[in-house]
Symmetry: C2
Subunit: 295 residues, 2 copies
């Protein structure tokens, strides 16, 4: 089973993938970041005045080749881009596993790459949220200061618009973290999210599930996708109590993944002690597809 | 056309390949060293007490995969082992070209790898010659002193015997540089060589060519291969005058490659001003196959 997690820089891809891998068992998963296929290191991009979002700044053809090899059960010697230093370093062997989880800026950019995946998700936090996440991460672990990150975000905007966001249209699931209009939650309140479940793959019947069980934190609505087509839109509130959140998650886990096992620990984890119900619900929906596909 | 140049460390593979690429036109050639597929860097091998000749110390499966991709006209992102430092570094893109020249310690180790090549050569200098070449090169450009190289040669002997030399049996052409018994040439006299032309590919009819043209520096003899089978053995003397050498080379070039063009400059070059007739003859025989195959 091959899963793609696409999204812009700091959209939460690594966090999403880590929770899935922990739930599936890390020894059953191969994790691949398509950002490792950067053609240029940080200094070269600076010299060329290009961003890493530009497809030509990546070995897209090699990325496609490696995805095809992994999809057919073969190992690849994957390049490695060191985000901490901005250098391209020694490659690493990726051996195929039961689940191959691919995240990155451009995994859904080409038709050939998309054809390699069984399930695809696009992480689409509202820009204000993503920007704050990016400043926090890049200053903490990538050697930038806040001003540099803001400049970098501005420099990347045109390429984000042109190359990253169009991938949203090719995802089976879209997860959008956003502030809820009209609410004044105290700082630190977990964000809520809207999850679009597209009919490009057989989605679980959430209408039936949510009709027959009780939770105030998850609401399903019929909506129109950006292209006008009908789509299921699942609203998941982040501001509920931990107890209500755990109950809602356990209910969904039992309904769409496995009624006979407990909810795995790592789902929804966004930090050493922070938890997000919307993230956990997104992960549960993905686990539904991954485990159903593996069976 | 895919060519393999196999042989032990310092057998002359890079020199052989460089002359071929220059003659073919470097823009028509992709050069690949299978030593780039080392699994461990120098420090790790030291720690594990293993030599780079050990197949398990190399990503043989990835080497096979990349050879297959190149043979089918696809690019590969090849790992890079830096011989000067002993580090594994940033990989490089290899785009398929008309001629793919692959050299290294183990390109003929597995059946799948061998199946990728149109022509194969094994460089088999006598051990005394190879040892002197290795000491000279590794002290000049790989950061070793002479004593370290001698120790390294001893440490590698068992793996050479077990993994490198068996590849000799899988080559279409074997080139053996050696001192000629009973001759006391002054120091600096180019070495002579014996070239075995196996019937595994259609070899040019050297008996007919050498019967009808005159050169005292190249002799063809019927011989028995190490497995007892009949084989053509071409003796090429290195000790002739430069003029006689040039005449012999021009004659062979016209007979087996192209009567309407001059001998390319780089053939037989073994240093800034040194030249080897046996090396040039080996290269001419390879060019015969590469250019005939390309036509």
């Amino acid at each position: 089973m091959m899963l793609a997690i696409a999204g812009d820089s700091a959209a939460g891809k690594t966090t999403f993938a880590a929770g899935l891998a922990e739930a599936l068992g890390t020894n059953r998963c191969a994790l691949v970041s398509t950002d490792d296929y950067h053609r240029y290191d940080r200094a070269e991009r600076h010299q060329l005045s290009i961003t890493p979002l530009l497809p030509k700044a990546n070995y897209i053809d090699i990325m496609e080749q490696h995805l095809q090899l992994l999809a057919s059960g073969q190992p690849v010697l994957k390049p490695v881009y060191d985000h901490a230093t901005g250098h391209l370093v020694r490659p690493e062997l990726i051996e195929p596993r039961e689940f191959v989880i691919v995240d990155g800026l451009l995994p859904l950019h080409t038709k050939l790459a998309r054809a390699c995946f069984d399930v695809t998700v696009y992480l689409d936090p509202e820009e204000e949220v993503r920007r704050s996440w990016k400043v926090r991460r890049d200053t903490a672990s990538r050697g930038y200061n806040a001003e540099q990150v803001v400049t970098e975000l501005a420099a990347r905007e045109a390429d984000s618009e042109r190359y990253i966001r169009p991938q949203r249209a090719h995802a089976d699931l879209v997860v959008r973290f956003a502030h809820v209009d009209g609410r004044a939650d105290p700082p630190g309140t977990p964000l809520s999210a809207e999850l679009l479940l597209r009919s490009t793959i057989p989605q679980p019947d959430l209408a039936e599930i949510l009709d027959s069980r009780t939770t105030g934190l998850v609401h399903l609505r019929l909506a129109r996708d950006t292209d006008g087509r009908p789509v299921d839109s699942l609203h998941v509130h982040g501001y509920g109590s931990p107890e209500d959140g755990a109950a809602a998650l356990a209910m969904l886990w039992a309904a769409v993944v496995d009624p006979s096992s407990d909810v795995p620990d790592g789902l929804g984890r966004v930090g050493p002690s922070a938890h997000s119900l919307p993230l956990a619900v997104g992960q549960v929906l993905l686990l539904h597809h991954l485990l159903a596909g593996a069976r």
